[in-house]
């Protein structure tokens, strides 16, 4: 409601909001205090108590264990994001400003790819990566993220370019701009916000992905989600390490969310196909 100042906010609203806020922060509280406890101090019955003395070692230990997979995730995420954003930008430009007969049907067929449960393509993907010799490596994972990122990046860029008036394109065309000069000289420079939205979206998705990470990589190419799952999955492990590891694995996306939250939300809302 735009004229919200006209309306009073009842005090009970604040009470309710604060209660929900507290409940929402419970997992974070538990993770923080457990990560900062000396392993000897961690026991189930004192799980809610603050640490008696701050113990920072767990972060360094978790970092040691996660470092190889963190490195993999950085390489994977950066290259996957850059490539799929470029592809999506060109595709979005075509679907928005260079429509042709059947382009709407084609676009819908593109979108279908982002709604499938990825189990349905997993076995053939595994076979194909194996037969072209990149199964288990980072490049196989990058390929998967680029290919299955095409629908969402195309969608976001299309919605973004739809906001650029057609008249602008018409006049540029009358001035003799061809397909590529129109894209390179006019659209690309205007696309920075679009790249930010798509970049954040893809970065978050690829960084957080687990299914392909756990099925398509071998030990030395594992992304951080798989590394964390292994760190936390062992039976005898004490809880300070997984909690500290969770922070390390969540930190990059959390930073992006805090610094560039509005763009994250725009990508989020674009995920629900709309005109």
């Amino acid at each position: 409601m735009s004229q919200s100042t006209l309306r009073k906010v009842h005090p009970s609203v604040y009470v309710l909001l604060l209660v929900v806020l507290a409940v929402f922060l419970v997992p974070i509280y538990m993770a923080v205090i457990t990560a900062l406890k000396n392993p000897a101090e961690i026991s189930l019955s004192t799980a809610w108590k603050l640490p008696s003395k701050l113990y920072w070692r767990s972060f360094a230990d978790a970092l040691d264990l996660l470092l190889p997979s963190l490195k993999n995730s950085v390489v994977l995420t950066v290259s996957g994001t850059v490539i799929s954003a470029l592809v999506g930008s060109l595709n979005g430009f075509v679907f928005s400003k260079n429509r042709f007969r059947g382009s709407e049907i084609l676009f819908t067929l593109f979108l279908f790819g982002m709604f499938i449960p990825y189990q349905i393509i997993l076995i053939p993907l595994f076979q194909v990566l194996r037969s072209i010799g990149i199964y288990g490596s980072l490049s196989g994972l990058i390929l998967a993220h680029v290919v299955y990122g095409i629908p969402i990046t195309t969608l976001i860029f299309r919605n973004f370019y739809d906001q650029i008036p057609d008249s602008l394109v018409e006049s540029a065309r009358l001035d003799g701009a061809g397909f590529f000069s129109l894209y390179g000289r006019l659209f690309l420079p205007l696309s920075i916000p679009g790249f930010v939205v798509v970049g954040i979206w893809q970065f978050t998705q690829i960084w957080n992905e687990f299914l392909w990470g756990v099925t398509l990589t071998k030990q030395d190419a594992q992304p951080v989600t798989v590394g964390l799952a292994q760190l936390a999955g062992g039976q005898a492990v004490s809880w300070n390490l997984p909690m500290a590891g969770s922070f390390l694995a969540g930190l990059p996306v959390l930073l992006i969310y805090i610094l560039l939250g509005q763009y994250f939300i725009r990508g989020l809302l674009a995920g629900s196909v709309k005109e």
């Binding site: 997992p27 430009f93 709604f115 076995i123 299955y148 957080n208 687990f210 099925t215 994250f264 005109e275």
Partner: protein, 370 residues
């Protein structure tokens, strides 16, 4: 807008790599998975260079639904339905509640919004690891009752084997028939209210058919299992559902908040003029007006609920049967047991469940764009 011929040529050329990749990696792979599900690949040495694959028709599907060894699949399927129902209902309700609280712009709105939405940015593996600790049987939330002088809780959040709302799998077709009967009886009722004769006749006769099956025909069908098998709502899934609702309520909150703020102020003012209180405004006017948002949220969330794989994996472990989901079972069957054909069959069933929502949604959005 349609450009010149040369333009169209470039446009198509730019798309060619994407078209090729999606044709192979999406449509081709879906077809291939379907084909694999009709073979017996993996009953022998599945990983060798040229594995033996014999065509066995729908055998794997028949085994999954009625075979002795696939009891876990059937419970996982029931779990998947409940996961979806509760995730959708929970996130819609909590998201709407938060959006209404925030609609009038309380102080600190930005902080509230940011906090409610941040879990969405995180990986299921990160949040699942933390929630697993919160729900650990002897600590975490089970300690809370002791703050109020009560006994420590003893509920095994993620490993309870208890089932409620149980039914016998032998009656599953009957139950499906009753549910379909209720759905068509409802459309019959709305057709009757709106005076639409065609809808009335059509849904009435379909409803009648399902009722006839449930009451009469079912008794004469051979049982799909030779023995009774109990399935139901697995209480161990509650913990996962809570974590998933926590993670996705911010999303519905953002959708609804945008929706509420998109409604014209005049709508609120005229409702006030007619003497409506805030509650009446939200429930009688605002929420019905946001039906399109609700609908697309339902579709996106049911789709997300089919991707709970990583959350279940990190919270409860892949081997934990009581929190199982077909997506987790598919992983176990395919990549641990190397039974590719059965894994493919499970993935096809998951895919069909998703397609049920997605295809109508895509067709509708295609029509809206035209």
């Amino acid at each position: 807008m349609v450009g010149s011929k040369k333009n169209t040529l470039y446009a198509v050329l730019v798309l060619v790599p994407s078209i090729f990749l999606l044709a192979v990696f999406v449509y081709g792979f879906i077809g291939n998975s379907f084909y694999i599900s009709l073979t017996d690949w993996g009953s022998g040495a599945g990983l060798q260079e040229n594995p033996v694959k014999n065509f066995v028709g729908l055998y794997n599907y028949r085994e999954l639904f009625t075979g002795f060894i696939h009891e876990r699949f059937r419970q996982d399927l029931i779990n998947a339905i409940y996961y979806s129902l509760f995730l959708v209902a929970g996130t819609l309700a909590l998201g709407l509640f938060l959006a209404i609280l925030l609609d009038k712009g309380p102080k600190g709105e930005h902080i509230f919004r940011t906090t409610f939405l941040f879990p969405m940015a995180l990986s299921f593996i990160v949040t699942g690891t933390i929630w697993r600790w919160v729900f650990s049987p002897k600590g975490g939330v089970n300690v809370i009752p002791t703050w109020f002088g009560m006994e420590k809780g003893s509920f095994l959040w993620l490993s309870s084997r208890e089932l409620v709302w149980t039914f016998n799998w032998q009656n599953v077709l009957q139950i499906i028939a009753v549910i379909l009967f209720l759905i068509f009886a409802f459309t019959f009722y709305t057709g009757w209210k709106k005076g639409k004769r065609r809808q009335l006749v059509l849904s009435g006769s379909v409803a009648g058919l399902f009722l006839f099956y449930a009451l009469v025909l079912h008794r004469f069908m051979p049982p799909i299992l030779p023995y009774e098998e109990t399935h139901g709502f697995s209480l161990a899934t509650i913990g996962v559902i809570i974590a998933a609702v926590w993670q996705y309520s911010g999303y519905t909150m953002a959708l609804y908040l945008a929706g509420l703020r998109g409604l014209p102020v005049a709508m609120y003012e005229s409702a006030k003029m007619d003497g409506a209180g805030d509650l009446t405004y939200y429930f009688k006017i605002a929420i019905p007006n946001m039906w399109p948002i609700t609908l697309s949220a339902i579709i996106i969330l049911s789709h997300i609920s089919l991707k709970l794989f990583a959350l279940i994996f990190s919270m409860a472990g892949a081997d934990n049967a009581s929190t199982g989901h077909p997506s987790v079972l598919m992983y176990l069957v395919t990549f641990r047991a190397n039974n590719f054909a059965v894994g493919a069959a499970i993935s096809v069933i998951l895919f069909l469940m998703a397609a049920l929502f997605i295809i109508p949604y895509l067709i509708q959005s295609y029509r809206a764009r035209r």
